[in-house]
């Protein structure tokens, strides 16, 4: 058995799963210390379906706690950034593109030192130990407890980041160190930004992970604990302490993966219809397609592995205007005031929910309140919604083949039973706890993202080499060796570079090697 838990900003959801079946599912309120909500959720599972804590093999937790801490600039540690790259890169020091408010929130300090590599692995400059030692003295003097180290082209060669970390921790044993080569991919500033964010969250991560472990222990569960990462794979507790930033996009990822799992589809579009927007994403082989562009988090440009989600201004609270001949739906919405402003709730605003009720799609509030609504207007509004969502699915899919659609969220009553050439719309049970299920079914991943020289005729062998490396990384992270498969390969030849340099990204995933219960 395993337990999946989703700690959101508002709710903490938990599911108890055995293989593919959901044995119990509960929803509780999130508490500020996180642990209270989890303890309540675990007790809820016990009440719904009594289980032996010793029979739980693993607990997977997805949380938006860390991204919320950044957005709210709350509980961030004083942080320094050390970049190894001089004499290059000096014009754009660390945090150059950050909102001032967040630089202040982390009391951010930036240091530039010699080091870094060229794209082909040559050194830009040697690391200078005395420079790093001087940085250590500075950090000590200013009471900095967490540091982010970045080095130019560290995805190609991370030796300098590692050596700088060794020198700093030799002088400051308590210092928390985050390495950019462990956090992000190519793109110095974006990778460095993600690393600095990570460093600022390290202390909070320690507290939260301790809290999570305590609440499990309190419930008598001694199984290993994992946290969900942005790409829908798992990390163990030690990694989570060191790299909390890897949880940032786990919310939407778990939600999409959970929905797909519940509908039994590995490749599909997931449409999550809320009150104001519809979020549409695509899963291939059970994993969300990742955004290829930079993602801005709290005003900071990063290059995390984030799912590619298209948001449309269509939700249950969207305002409906016009007549049957020319109807518009959204993008403005009554939002959380739906329960006061919609016609079916006694309000005076025509919303998408009202037209769904008028058309007999759902029985919400007082259907009598929309009895006199023009039927052709209601049909026109729903047709408009179906067309817009259908277009968005068309837009986001990755191949010409029709893509099945899974609809979740409170506003999914707005969707018809069939959309475009996608056929029947799947509406799974338990979708309210899709995030927790997404956490519970997560696998272990391994990734490669580097520039490879590809000589003529060598493309296949280079690709094979990259794939094997990704598989090996997944196994090293705890995947069951036979179960690992490559789920994503992306190769982009680089312009203006000699030697047919190609950037290759490979992702492999496998099932979690379920260890015997510890102790």
């Amino acid at each position: 058995m395993r337990i999946g838990i989703d700690v959101g900003g508002t709710n903490t959801d938990a599911v108890l799963m055995d293989g593919q079946s959901v044995l119990a599912a509960v929803k509780t309120a999130t508490t500020r210390d996180v642990t209270g909500g989890i303890t309540a959720a675990l007790a809820g599972l016990q009440r719904q379906r009594a289980f032996d804590p010793a029979a739980v093999n693993a607990v997977m937790i997805g949380t938006t706690h860390f991204i919320n801490a950044l957005v709210e600039a709350d509980r961030l540690a004083p942080t320094a950034a050390v970049r190894l790259g001089l004499p290059a890169t000096a014009s754009l020091p660390p945090m150059v593109d950050w909102p001032e408010r967040l630089v202040e929130a982390i009391a951010g300090r930036a240091y530039l030192c010699h080091g870094g590599h060229e794209f082909d692995g040559r050194r830009i400059a040697d690391l200078r130990e005395d420079e790093i030692q001087r940085v250590a003295e500075e950090l000590d003097r200013h009471g900095v407890r967490s540091v982010a180290i970045s080095s130019v082209f560290s995805p190609v060669n991370a030796e300098f980041e590692q050596r700088a970390a060794d020198i700093l921790t030799a002088q400051l044993p308590g210092l928390a160190v985050s390495l950019s080569s462990e956090v992000g991919r190519m793109g110095l500033l974006e990778r460095e930004n993600a690393t600095i964010i990570n460093a600022s969250l390290r202390e909070l991560a320690g507290q939260i992970v301790d809290g999570l472990a305590d609440s499990l222990e309190g419930a008598g569960i001694r199984a290993p604990l994992y946290l969900s990462q942005n790409d829908g794979t798992l990390m163990d507790v030690d990694f989570a302490r060191r790299y909390p930033v890897a949880t940032f996009a786990s919310g939407p990822t778990n939600s999409m993966r959970g929905a797909a799992f519940l509908s039994g589809l590995e490749t599909c579009a997931v449409v999550d219809v809320g009150g104001t927007t519809s979020d549409i994403g695509v899963l291939r082989h059970g994993f969300p397609r990742e955004a290829t562009t930079e993602v801005s988090v709290a005003g900071i440009r990063t290059n995390f592995r984030m799912p590619d989600v298209l948001s449309l201004g269509i939700g249950g609270g969207s305002r409906v205007r016009g007549d049957a001949g020319a109807v518009t739906v959204g993008p403005d919405s009554v939002g959380y005031r739906l329960a006061e402003e919609a016609l079916v709730f006694g309000g005076a605003t025509l919303t998408a929910t009202d037209v769904a009720v008028a058309a007999g799609r759902a029985a919400i509030g007082d259907p009598g309140a929309v009895r006199d609504l023009d039927r052709s207007l209601a049909q026109a509004a729903l047709a408009r919604i179906a067309r817009d969502i259908g277009d968005a699915i068309e837009r986001i899919r990755t191949s010409p083949e029709p893509l099945p659609v899974v609809a979740v969220g409170g506003g999914s009553i707005l969707l018809p039973d069939e959309i475009g050439d996608s056929g029947q719309v799947h509406r799974p049970e338990h979708f309210a706890v899709a995030n927790a299920i997404g956490a519970a079914i997560a696998q272990i991943g391994g990734e490669v993202d580097r520039i490879f020289p590809v000589e003529p005729g060598q493309r296949q062998s280079v690709l094979d080499e990259a794939k094997q490396e990704a598989v090996d990384r997944a196994v090293a992270s705890g995947a069951k060796p036979g179960s690992v498969r490559v789920v994503e390969v992306d190769e982009v030849p680089l312009a203006y570079l000699p030697g047919n340099a190609t950037r290759i990204r490979v992702k492999a995933v496998g099932d979690l090697q379920m260890e015997a219960v510890r102790g």
């Binding site: 790259g85 014009s91 110095l188 990755t398 312009a495 203006y496 047919n500």
Partner: protein, 362 residues
């Protein structure tokens, strides 16, 4: 037109417009935008002067980045490095530059002179050498006037610099490219020293302010829920060739250049039609249902269908909704000498040029 002061607030528009004029290549202007922002914050607004006000005895030099945009996002260039290139050229010339010039209005190089301007305290001429982006340094209108790209300088971030004095502008490209690779695939170059009289004759005027205007048009159209693509097309005096969805992208690398093709399947009025885009860093040829409808040297810009933002050849992906526009280039590119330098045959295509509004030219 009077001198303009470029402040940090203008840079987003210039970067967005330069991405459009980049016709899919020229590198993502984001890093250039950040560098120019840092330079303007430190050194004050950059001065942009109209081409027709540059005096005869001015000493104008191009300053540009050479290398791989993908390297530049990792080994971020510095303002000092750009200034070093200009100073190295000045020392060799034995003359002090009075104006900086933009090599290409498209992509990252639209912003590099603004980066160096603050460091050197020099004005930038509102003009460029191409009126768009091209991959090689001899592909500038001044080459058509017999103006030498050299003496030129090249500088890396380590403090290395060098001078080339070559027999023609093709050799300048070739030697500088080799040095750039040894410098880690990212170098700053300063070249094309011109008198003010030469600059006025041979540069493409008004292209930096055009970039700023294009960026502003897209931003304003979006805010007013008008069509940004139509605004861009109108400003460039171009035509919308196609609207559709990218259904296939094939890439390969040949000789250090990313070549490829993208197929766009028509939507709306274009349903049932197909557009094939052939690119080598930049979009070079557009073929609609088997007919070549646009080629270099005219501009072929691929824009995100609704937002109007430029899509580079490296970020083209299956499923993107795009609109493809063609716009006239500087007319001098359509002379026989111009086409020899940048026509479709130079890029290895076995057909003549299609000039917007004029049909096929052998």
């Amino acid at each position: 037109m009077a001198e303009l002061l470029i402040t940090e607030a203008d840079l987003d528009d210039i970067a967005a417009g330069a991405a459009i004029l980049g016709t899919g290549g020229g590198g993502d202007p984001h890093i250039g935008r950040l560098l120019a922002g840092a330079a303007v914050r430190a050194g004050g607004p950059a001065r942009l002067v109209p081409l027709d006000t540059v005096p005869d005895d001015a000493v104008a030099v191009v300053v540009a980045m050479m290398g791989a945009p993908t390297v530049m996002v990792e080994k971020v260039p510095s303002a000092e490095q750009a200034a070093l290139a200009v100073r190295a050229l000045a020392a060799y010339l034995g003359r002090t530059p009075t104006h900086l010039v933009c090599a290409e209005a498209g992509g990252v190089n639209a912003l590099v002179p603004l980066v160096a301007a603050a460091e050197l305290g020099l004005p930038v001429i509102d003009a460029d050498g191409m009126g768009r982006a091209f991959p090689e340094l001899q592909m500038v209108v001044p080459t058509l006037y017999g103006i030498g790209a050299t003496p030129m300088s090249i500088a890396d971030e380590k403090g290395n610099s060098g001078i080339f004095d070559t027999v023609d502008n093709h050799w300048a490209e070739r030697l500088a490219r080799s040095a750039t690779i040894d410098m880690g695939c990212s170098a700053m170059i300063s070249l094309l020293p011109m008198s003010g009289a030469q600059a006025r004759e041979a540069l493409v005027p008004g292209t930096l302010s055009l970039s700023a205007e294009l960026g502003r048009l897209v931003r304003e159209a979006r805010a007013a829920h008008r069509d940004p693509v139509a605004a861009v097309t109108g400003r460039l005096g171009g035509v919308e060739l196609f609207t559709g969805k990218v259904v296939d992208v094939v890439r390969r690398t040949e000789g250090g250049f990313a070549r490829g093709e993208a197929t766009v399947e028509g939507l709306g009025d274009r349903t049932g039609e197909r557009l094939l885009l052939r690119f080598q860093n930049e979009h070079l040829v557009a073929v609609r249902d088997g007919e070549v409808v646009a080629t270099v040297p005219d501009l072929i810009c691929v824009l995100e269908a609704e937002a109007g933002t430029a899509i580079t050849t490296e970020t083209l992906r299956y499923g993107q909704r795009v609109r493809v526009i063609a716009a006239p280039c500087d007319p001098r590119w359509h002379t026989p000498e111009g086409l020899e330098l940048v026509g479709p045959r130079y890029f290895g295509y076995d057909h003549g040029t299609v000039r917007l509004g004029a049909g096929t030219v052998a």
